[in-house]
């Protein structure tokens, strides 16, 4: 197995959303913790972590850069949004959309981020219009390949066509590791059962997911079984969870410059319950991926009803797992 690579570890501060929401961790605490856990790259959902966005002061940006230096971190990615439905009763015009993207590109640039996440719902036409601005601010815009979208999905193919045709270095792809959900997440299943889903039906849905039965058949079957509203909701959730072939990363590697390392449930320091990182990371190494893998914990919402969320411990385990799979310290 090939082991030489230039892949770096980062943390998305989104991982600490529970503690941030409850004001148990400040922005500085999140950065400090990411650094302490061995990450060198920082990804941030600015509209979550930076109150006042998009009107942030020069003093804020100065403070941000001081923290980066103090904790030895590199700002990597700003996760942007595009509020196309900002006005009641009408969508933003194309010109307004471009303005919004430019606003975020400027912000990403001020943060020192080389990458900006674009929501998967954003159109290829809009992206093409924004490429000159991404080049001007020197920030790479990446469409997030987020489950249930995947590389071969027609919408994504149209985005790839734009990247190919324009030949720009400033537009590409950000795969979210949620597209490699091989088993139905245990934390999601357990939460649905606590909310009233039928255990036997939940078990059937998990098995059906693992055998890759087309989701619409599973939904119909659960209805036939007399499933309650939550059973049906769980079956319908299969429309939004996918396992795709990690080998496809090799083909699209020229367009990949950042990765959201999504996870739901670290069982120990080596295993994510539903996403087999050990089956994905070798392809990143083989394909010569050179960006960051940013831990993105999203399990809090499934466990907060029964237990104290410990995002820091989850991220610690995730970083430990990635470090091992990347062959660090060998």
């Amino acid at each position: 197995m090939q082991t030489k690579h230039n892949i770096k570890r980062g943390v998305s501060l989104y991982s600490f959303q529970e503690e941030t929401f409850l004001r148990k961790m400040s922005l500085e605490d999140c950065i400090a913790k990411a650094s302490e856990l061995g990450a060198t790259g920082i990804q941030v959902v600015s509209e979550q972590s930076m109150p006042g966005f998009p009107h942030l002061s020069d003093a804020f940006y100065a403070q941000w850069h001081e923290w980066m230096e103090k904790y030895g971190c590199t700002p990597v990615c700003h996760d942007s949004f595009l509020d196309t439905k900002r006005h009641k009763g009408r969508n933003l015009t194309e010109e307004e959309c471009v303005e919004s993207v430019i606003r975020d590109l400027k912000h990403a640039s001020k943060l020192g981020c080389s990458v900006m996440r674009i929501l998967v719902s954003t159109s290829p036409e809009l992206m093409e219009k924004c490429i000159p601005y991404a080049e001007e601010y020197n920030v790479k815009m990446g469409i997030e390949i987020h489950s249930p979208w995947h590389f071969d999905q027609p919408w994504i193919q149209r985005h790839i066509e734009v990247a190919e045709r324009t030949g720009t270095k400033h537009f590409g792809l950000i795969p979210d590791m949620g597209i490699y959900t091989k088993r139905y997440p245990r934390v999601m299943k357990d939460r649905l059962i606590r909310n009233g889903a039928t255990p036997a039906i939940a078990e059937y849905i998990c098995e059906a997911y693992e055998t890759r039965i087309f989701c619409e058949y599973v939904i119909f079957e659960v209805r036939s079984m007399g499933g309650n509203a939550l059973d049906i909701a769980m079956a319908e959730s299969l429309r939004h969870n996918i396992w795709s072939n990690p080998k496809r990363l090799l083909e699209y590697m020229p367009y990949i410059f950042h990765i959201h390392a999504k996870f739901y449930d670290m069982v120990d320091d080596e295993t994510e319950y539903s996403i087999p990182y050990n089956e994905v990371i070798p392809y990143l190494i083989q394909g010569g991926y050179e960006g960051y893998l940013c831990s993105e914990y999203e399990g809090n919402r499934h466990i907060q009803d029964i237990s104290e969320v410990d995002s820091v411990e989850q991220v610690r385990r995730h970083q430990a797992m990635m470090s091992k799979l990347l062959g660090e310290g060998q």
Binding site: F21, P51, F81
Partner: protein
């Protein structure tokens, strides 16, 4: 995502003006994982002991500014920040009686990338 944190357990009280009770207040947060512009907070519905509060009676206060729900619809600058505790004031002469009340809060958000409105509910029994 943060459904269970929407209604705060603190800050539930009657509101006085010159010794007259003119309404009541509760503290609330967004269930969403980021802050949102106020124009995208489509609706806030409050039910007390099974009785719905009229939409016109609700005032929303965040970061020192107060809005009616109608005013929020066209507010393009103000935001309800992530985890930020906002105050909901309900104009209701006489307020609420002392003792326990079952409060239900529904927040309806217009999230651009979702094909449908995001409607989230929290219910708590609070004491006055």
């Amino acid at each position: 995502m943060f459904d269970k944190y929407m209604i705060m357990e603190t800050g539930f009280c009657n509101v006085f003006q010159e010794q007259e009770v003119i309404g009541f207040q509760l503290q609330a947060r967004l269930p969403y994982y980021r802050g949102l512009g106020l124009s995208m907070v489509e609706d806030i519905r409050i039910t007390v002991d099974g009785n719905a509060v009229p939409r016109e009676a609700i005032r929303f206060t965040t970061l020192g500014k107060t809005y009616s729900l109608e005013e929020m619809e066209t507010e393009m600058v103000g935001r309800w920040e992530f985890g930020e505790v906002a105050t909901l004031t309900i104009n209701q002469p006489g307020g609420l009686s002392s003792g326990q009340h079952e409060i239900e809060l529904v927040e309806q958000l217009r999230i651009s990338y979702l094909p449908f409105p995001s409607i989230t509910k929290d219910k708590k029994t609070l004491a006055l």
